[in-house]
């Protein structure tokens, strides 16, 4: 089985600070990470590799520094990496991005395409479904569990607001994955040592099957009306305790922060 995972390198928004004067994001010094939903997608693919000996290819579209994200995926255990980068791709919205990715995917053999549900820097959840439309294959979004019969059939649990649906579909198909569904494995030390010895294929416009007018700014119908920042909250801590313990914990936390 061949699996292709589409990932995006994003700024770690938990580390981002807001400039109080201008209300804009301060991106300087903010580390870049693999988008969390996409990282869960990598984990799903690697589990399929462990269980079904799948061949896993990772692909990203982005500037030269996105190479780091691909090396991280290689160090986690994926087999091949492709980097889509070209000035013609610059300024792409979700539609132009999905055209470029679909163009690259047409060059590849795949039974399953995995994308994250959405990226933490854009939150659109559009690229995965658009790729499936361009390639005219089945898509299942918000996947939280995947079973494979070893032949053609996938049985999928898909999260919905108040529960989940169980769907069955045949290869080839595209799924979008939720970050909390699959706890991503760590890179291994050996994987890290080998990650830079492996070849990352770099593809530009000439290497993929796509119309130039569908790419970059030209192919991007989205117009940003206004950008604003939501209040940023630190990640909370979750405790599962009985009432007595919970009260004690809350009190000690409040004391720790000198609130009481």
């Amino acid at each position: 089985m061949n699996i292709v995972v589409c990932i995006k390198q994003v700024p770690d928004t938990t580390e981002i600070k807001i400039n109080p004067a201008t209300g804009t994001l301060i991106r300087d010094g903010v580390p870049s990470i693999i988008n969390p939903d996409d990282k869960a997608g990598l984990e799903l693919a690697l589990r399929m590799k462990d269980l079904h000996d799948a061949h896993v290819t990772v692909i990203t579209m982005g500037p030269p520094q996105a190479d780091n994200a691909l090396r991280e995926a290689l160090a986690m255990g994926v087999d091949d990496a492709i980097h889509l980068t070209d000035r013609k791709f610059a300024g792409a919205d979700t539609l132009a991005t999905s055209h470029a990715l679909a163009g690259a995917l047409r060059n590849l053999t795949f039974d399953l395409i995995i994308t994250g549900r959405q990226a933490i820097d854009g939150d659109t959840a559009q690229v995965g479904p658009q790729i499936a439309e361009h390639l005219d294959i089945a898509q299942v979004s918000y996947l939280r569990k995947l079973d494979y019969d070893g032949k053609r059939t996938f049985t999928i649990e898909r999260s919905i607001e108040d529960g989940y649906e169980i769907l069955e579909t045949e290869a080839p198909c595209l799924v979008t994955v939720l970050s909390d569904a699959f706890q991503a494995r760590y890179m291994t030390v050996k994987g890290i040592m080998e990650a830079y010895a492996k070849e990352v294929k770099v593809w530009g416009f000439n290497e993929i099957e796509v119309k130039e007018e569908d790419l970059g700014l030209k192919g991007s119908p989205t117009k940003v009306h206004k950008a604003f920042s939501r209040g940023v909250k630190a990640a909370g801590e979750l405790y599962e305790l009985d009432t007595d313990e919970a009260v004690g914990t809350i009190i000690s936390k409040l004391k720790e922060k000198f609130i009481i």
Binding site: R71, E72, I192, M193
Partner: protein, 379 residues
């Protein structure tokens, strides 16, 4: 001159920080409080390859280098110094001497299982009457045909009963002094090899530290490490490398204490403003950071020289001497800046000071490091 990490080392830094933060830090207070060896963490470290970092891939290791090994011990020790020393003793004191002095058969038998973490390693040189004066070994190994019969005991042995393979030193010829010491590889379960008292320690309390007892323990000649009478040299060379690990551990403790302090002083308010707004506080953390950065340079440079195959003995001694001093100073200042809260076990800085003290003592006291550094100047 290049002060940057390589691409691999930079990627490794990302991985080890995340691992230490998510897998090691949450257990640090518990393993200290309960004096519990964190077996579950050792299993996790084995899975990602942290127990065989500088081991060649053909022997089942990760194929990394000593700079990465130092990064690993540092970052683990930022979270938990107990976890740092488990990796350091295993890698520097057990794997390294077998890699350096072992026969091809010994390497094939032991290294893959140690590097994969299936087996944990340990090292026994210290005895009740042979501490800094390691040449005063009283454990004996008497030749008996194709075997050696070992009698005696070793104390303060890190990884203790959790290890499977031990590098043990014993006198094969007392009349020869240090030239009468021979090294052996001894496996747990060998008849005549047992464990004595478990130490109750001030710091690194999750690390297992016990006495090893040998009573007519029969070791086949094929388990001799190096040649007869060459054990002391193996021990000294091993400790040179080990000092990089302990220096990295001390550095990690200092960095951990600074991290906790920076977090605390931004939150804690007195006289209507956060502690971080007071210039005295700022000067303190500036000093702490400067010393930590200097210690890191020494640690990385010693590890780099070892990777290049250059002499690094004095470099490792300077790194350990200085990093241990910095760990003590920074952890102590961290408690001072935390005030009364810092003295309680609600906050991790009191543990860090207790953990820091051992770095001035084990694998050569600070005084021994000065002897090594001075001897290197005066030769």
């Amino acid at each position: 001159m290049n002060f940057h990490l390589t691409k691999e080392q930079a990627l490794f830094e990302q991985m080890i920080r995340s691992f230490a933060e998510k897998e090691v830090k949450p257990l640090a207070a518990e393993v200290d409080e309960q004096e519990r060896f964190p077996e579950e963490t050792v299993a996790k470290m084995a899975r990602v390859g942290l127990l065989g970092i500088p081991v060649p891939s053909e022997l089942g290791g990760a194929g990394g280098n000593n700079v990465m090994y130092a990064q690993a011990v540092e970052e683990l020790s930022v979270a938990c110094a107990t976890t740092g020393v488990i990796v350091s003793a295993h890698t520097s004191l057990c794997i390294a001497p077998i890699l350096e002095s072992g026969t091809p058969e010994q390497k094939k038998k032991y290294i893959p299982r140690l590097a994969s973490g299936e087996w944990l390693g340990a090292f026994g040189l210290t005895e009740p009457n042979a501490g800094t004066d390691a040449s005063a070994q009283q454990t004996t190994a008497v030749e008996d045909g194709d075997n050696f019969i070992i009698n005696g005991s070793k104390i303060f042995i890190t990884n203790a009963e959790y290890a499977h393979v031990y590098i043990i030193f014993a006198m094969t010829d007392k009349s020869q002094g240090v030239k009468g010491i021979t090294a052996f590889i001894i496996e747990k379960g060998t008849p005549g090899f047992s464990f004595g008292k478990k130490e109750k320690k001030m710091g690194i309390r999750g690390s297992a530290t016990s006495e090893l007892i040998f009573e007519n323990c029969v070791i086949p000649r094929e388990n001799m490490l190096g040649k007869v009478g060459k054990g002391f040299g193996i021990a000294m060379k091993t400790l040179d490398g080990g000092r990089i690990g302990i220096a990295a551990q001390a550095l990690g403790i200092a960095q951990g204490a600074l991290n906790e302090t920076v977090k605390y002083i931004k939150e804690r308010k007195q006289f209507g403003k956060p502690l971080s707004a007071f210039q005295n506080t700022q000067f303190q953390i500036a000093d702490m950071q400067t010393r930590i950065s200097a210690a890191r340079m020494l640690v990385r440079s010693a590890a780099f020289k070892k990777d290049q195959g250059e002499k690094f003995s004095a470099d490792a001694a300077m790194a350990k001497l200085y990093a241990a001093e910095v760990a003590m100073e920074v952890a102590s200042k961290a408690i001072q800046l935390h005030g009364g809260y810092g003295y309680t076990r609600e906050y991790p800085v009191e543990r860090m000071l207790r953990d820091a003290k051992i770095t001035e003592i084990y694998e050569g006291t600070s005084e021994v490091q000065k002897m090594v550094i001075a001897a290197n100047l005066l030769k």
